[in-house]
Subunit: 216 residues, 2 copies
């Protein structure tokens, strides 16, 4: 029985090339693809794969948030974080979110396959370029007080990302199937919690927390 994988990355070209590469691995099967966190979570619910290869920067709902949700609901499903950045924050947050592995996008395909197999044996895998030892250290660093994950609720973080991506209140409401009034309420609550009083600064906060990229 082969390893069933869902692939989540907003870059279509990367997804395509990975699918092609994985075709050669007879014991691994890509059963689904998604280009944002929200669709990934839905797809995972439907398909119940063994593992998710998860890009961190994705529109709409980022990989960190998607991982938290998936792992919370289906703890047996493994997640490998895949990112361009060797940023401390991303790595730490990704493992905190429940990922079992973290790879940089500049790793080789062979390394990724090795990661998949290692993780399916119940182990943790960290891309060579990051360095295996750092992780145990990182995980034990106490959460910086005031970080988005500790101060904001799941819903708030979700809405913050969408706001920071330039979505209007109305659009967000439609997307999440709630009233614009609710979205508004969440934003006001966040601004109050964070002591921020403009969308501009809310956007900067989201960038700092790795919830969105500075690319408009």
């Amino acid at each position: 029985m082969s390893i069933r994988i869902v692939l989540a990355d907003d870059h279509t070209i990367l997804r395509q090339s990975l699918v092609k590469s994985f075709k050669e691995e007879k014991d691994i099967e890509i059963v689904g693809e998604a280009k944002d966190g929200r669709h990934t979570a839905e797809l995972v619910k439907q398909l119940q794969p063994d593992l998710v290869i998860m890009d961190i920067q994705m529109p709409d709902l980022n990989g960190l948030e998607a991982t938290r949700r998936i792992v919370k609901e289906f703890p047996q499903i493994k997640v490998i974080g895949l990112s361009m950045h060797s940023n401390d924050k991303y790595i730490r947050e990704m493992f905190r979110a429940g990922a079992s592995g973290y790879m940089l996008k500049n790793c080789s395909f062979e390394e990724l396959v090795k990661a998949v197999r290692t993780i399916m044996k119940g182990k943790i895998f960290i891309g060579a370029s990051i360095g295996d030892l750092v992780i145990s250290k990182y995980i034990n660093i106490p959460e910086k007080e005031g970080s988005a994950f500790s101060v904001l609720s799941e819903r708030e973080r979700e809405i913050l990302q969408l706001l920071a991506e330039g979505r209007t209140t109305k659009i967000i409401a439609r997307l999440l199937h709630i009233s614009p009034k609710t979205v508004e309420g969440h934003r006001l609550k966040m601004m109050d919690k964070l002591n921020i009083d403009s969308i501009a600064n809310l956007t900067k906060y989201a960038i700092q927390e790795g919830m969105t990229t500075p690319e408009p």
Copy 2:
């Protein structure tokens, strides 16, 4: 006759320590201090110093913009850019703006003094840690089309920075002594030019262009 300097940096501690250090240099005199670009430009107009030591990241009106204005109006006044970042963009833009030198904040005081003296002799000075040769190369790289400086007008850039710092239209209007309607008009024009349709994405654009920092 000593070299008269205006010191512009939003970090008071840094300013104070520099003032103290410069006291020991008998041929150099700090004649004025400012903590943002707008006040720097005003002060320079009043005091007509020989040289301005200019931090790049400053609230309200950043160092790049302030340099452009000062050099445009008083071409004989020299400007040294001072920044934490060895970022390509900042260096290039600072020289384009008309600066005669660029130093990193982690340089020694002796190096800064040397920079001041070198520049007063009509030469260009680049901090050792950046590397003298890069500059001539940098300056000749063609301006990336679509960069803030080429697409946006001076007034637009000024307003963009203030917006990206979380200021409201009303506050900006009061600050610049123009009508809120005018500020609004400029913003709409910019959004149209840049094909951006939210404050969030406008903020990201400003960050990318080095007009503001991601710190809220």
